[in-house]
Symmetry: C2
Subunit: 494 residues, 2 copies
């Protein structure tokens, strides 16, 4: 069996197969532990943005959405700070709702909150907001890139500051995951627009051969193995059993029933994807408190999955055990009656990532060595290239990100260049292997915790948060405070 799924932060590459669960809408479905407690509020604005910053042959513009909260802002007269979230590959409201940290520290800093949506996502769709046109072919999609997005952020922030006559208000950028990569790159490329960046779980080193393509799945393996050796073995052994069982029609029907797959569609590949998705995203969102980022999940969901697998009640039936684990991810609320493998809905509007992965975001993640919890496989650039060719008629540029943003020898390069970046990584996060895990200089620092999953620090806080998480946030607040002290001092000096 060969499992070749290209994992891209929040969305599978192809095929996209989400299970059918009751439609979720933020913030109504927030559960208590991560609720906004009334703090989540923003107004929606649109900015007329240039479609192509780097060529001049195209006067087209589009409406870029950004969310604003000035409840805590100290105002332009006080040169009070501006916190900007550099939006990632989806609806900005979704990321805003899941970035409670910014709301929670805004009062302390008297900060204006701005969440900017990434072009081609959410409601920030070029071509008059018509997604059908914008996503129709490589010519229209050609304007979807990280460099254009960063130039968007610079343009919008400068314009906003001018409009608010807040020229001297320092800007700090925040982001998680791809948004964290953008935040870090934004500080590096636009130091005249932002004084510092908090880049949470930003795998900026997952390009070229900087990071091993086995790193991602090694960490997932370790997450499960660390909970229970048996859990790891059961999952690892299940793939062969599924493969064998799927060889006959009757076997496939048995699999369908075991995993409560709806009657409309099943295939071996789709089932494997469905399970792979569950394991990967559970590892990514292995938070210490209940969450509802992708699906509603209990605290420490990896532990819960392994508990289901290790449960003596499930006997020796591997499928039943694996189903129990998958059920944690797909059906924690218990509302699902069956799972639709043919459901390609995209509630958070993440589809554009496939294009980005076919152009610049070539992030080798799907290597699996012998010990992997998933079947052995190698990262194969040519497969990606073929997919992209047939899907979009484009050839990826696997060296572009390291050309434009660097990454090789980052410690040497940034040791005496740049300043004011925090790289946070929790080592349970599969992406952490491609993050910056060591301090580079006095002010380009790595905060690393043994615990912690994908941008856990940016979540709404909770009474139940463990001590290490509280310490991470405290440290982040302290560092940002120092940036401001330095900034306001230099404002007086120069």
């Amino acid at each position: 069996m060969k499992m070749r799924l290209i994992l891209l932060f929040l969305v599978f590459f192809s095929p996209i197969s989400f299970a059918k669960i009751p439609p979720r809408l933020f913030p109504s479905s927030f559960d208590d532990q991560l609720s906004s407690k009334g703090k989540l509020s923003y107004e929606t604005n649109y900015f007329t943005q240039i479609l192509d910053h780097f060529n001049y042959n195209n006067p087209q513009t589009f409406q870029q959405r950004y969310l604003l909260n000035d409840k805590y802002w100290g105002g332009s007269k006080n040169s009070a700070p501006i916190f900007v979230y550099t939006g990632n590959e989806g609806n900005i409201e979704w990321f805003t709702q899941n970035t409670g940290f910014m709301f929670e520290i805004a009062r302390h800093f008297n900060a204006l909150l701005v969440f900017i949506e990434h072009r081609f996502y959410g409601k920030s769709i070029p071509y008059g907001g018509d997604k059908t046109i914008a996503y129709s072919n490589k010519t229209t999609l050609g304007y979807l890139s990280s460099t254009q997005a960063l130039a968007d952020y610079a343009t919008l922030i400068i314009d906003l500051k001018n409009n608010l006559t807040a020229i001297n208000s320092p800007v700090v950028v925040f982001g998680g995951s791809y948004g964290g990569m953008l935040a870090a790159w934004f500080r590096l490329k636009y130091p005249h627009v932002t004084i510092g960046a908090l880049a949470s779980s930003a795998p900026i080193l997952n390009f070229g051969n900087i990071t091993s393509p086995y790193s991602f799945n090694n960490i997932i393996t370790q997450d499960f193995k660390g909970e229970s050796e048996n859990c790891y073995k059961v999952i690892k052994g299940s793939w062969k059993q599924i493969e064998d069982m799927a060889k006959t029609k009757d076997g496939l029907e048995k699999l369908r029933k075991s995993f409560r797959i709806c009657k409309n569609y099943i295939s071996q590949g789709a089932l494997e994807n469905w399970l792979y998705t569950a394991f990967v995203y559970t590892a990514m969102t292995d938070y210490p408190t209940p969450s509802n980022f992708l699906n509603p999940l209990p605290a420490y969901p990896v532990k819960q999955m392994c508990k289901a697998i290790d449960d003596p009640k499930s006997g020796k039936d591997t499928f039943e055990k694996i189903y129990g684990a998958a059920n944690i991810y797909y059906n924690y609320t218990g509302n699902a009656t069956c799972f639709d493998l043919n459901d390609h809905s995209d509630p958070h509007g993440l589809a554009g990532w496939t294009w980005q992965a076919c152009t610049e975001m070539v992030m080798p993640t799907d290597g699996n060595n012998k010990e992997s919890i998933f079947p052995p496989s190698k990262w194969d650039y040519n497969e990606r290239a073929q997919f992209c060719k047939s899907n979009f008629g484009v050839e990826p540029r696997p060296n572009w990100v390291t050309t434009e943003f660097g990454g090789y020898n980052i410690e040497r390069v940034l040791k005496r260049f740049g300043s004011n970046i925090i790289f946070f990584n929790g080592l349970r996060d599969p992406w952490s292997g491609a993050g910056v895990l060591k301090d580079i200089s006095k002010s380009i620092v790595a905060i690393v915790t043994k615990e912690g999953a994908h941008h856990v620090d940016l979540r709404w806080s909770s009474k139940e948060d463990p001590k290490w998480l509280k310490q991470v946030r405290e440290r982040e607040v302290n560092i940002i405070s120092n940036w401001f002290s330095q900034y306001y001092q230099s404002l007086n000096e120069i």
Copy 2:
């Protein structure tokens, strides 16, 4: 009278009017003082470059020229350095021939020399090298921009280092004028590709309202006034006399004869441009030794011009005096019989600058206050915009350069960000007013000399060079040496 000429480093904006002098070709016409003394040698190479780095809808490539000299190189095994000239708005051979400094210090540093031609100039023309197509309209010209050029340099340098297996060879970039702006920006944007930049006479602050639009002509005024008050007064007074004289046909014919203009064409505007050109470029190239950058010129040509004006032999005839000054610039060799105001030849291939000035390079320079040596005028953005609209059908983006590269509050922004940039400026250079004239940090330093014109430090050295110029070069060599020490040390450490 209104003199509205938009000055762009080396070429007038419109109309372009160079005088007819015998065709000049480098290096054959080098005079002794700036000759290459046999050191000038290079081989010509071409690199297949991506036309559009920032969009993915265009797979087109073009052949980018670069010149190479490995005579002094210590080789990849020794991680010996690479010196790269970031080409400006013209034929790269011309800039190479006028950047003797790099050849002269290459032996000391065992450096490989690379001179990269800027896209759309010289032989680096997209669309199969066909300038007629490349320059035909805004769609094809759209790919001519500084951001694309910087990405070209990054891509080419990385590829070259890979091909030479010289991954650890540190790269230092050099550039003068627009090339100096590119060098500085390249260090800021691509610190992973270059460890430092020597940005000579780089007016990176001539954007938005960072620098006064009067600065440029104020410096020219000072250059001439500093030589002789009478010289300044005669030039300043001449414009009104020309204007008055040009009102009649007979008067225009008298002007034609006074200035030895060829019979084929004269107009008041063209004559004024012709004189303005002479004063501006003489000030820019007011070098302490004879030069042949734009035209063959004696040492200290401003002084020579004023000598001609102050010469009692020329009596009281203002036109004769001004002609004597212009003759220094246009006819130092004495070969010209008449000057053709209708000559639009472009020996150094600078025409693309008009496009750049109509898109991103909106550099306000043509303000003239009451004291100016030129007639009073204001910088008027709308005039530029109208010209660009009618000429190319584009609207400039006057805020783009400060959005993309910064400039406002540069001292505050770079005080704790970035490193290893030398900004050289000679204060006789009209562009120096928009240069970085103060140290920003320990390693972002300004070398400023009271004497010295446009990128004088990059010229071939001469026995006749004044002490201050030798000291500038020594200091530059020392600073670059320190970059290497630091780099090689960190190579061992990390």
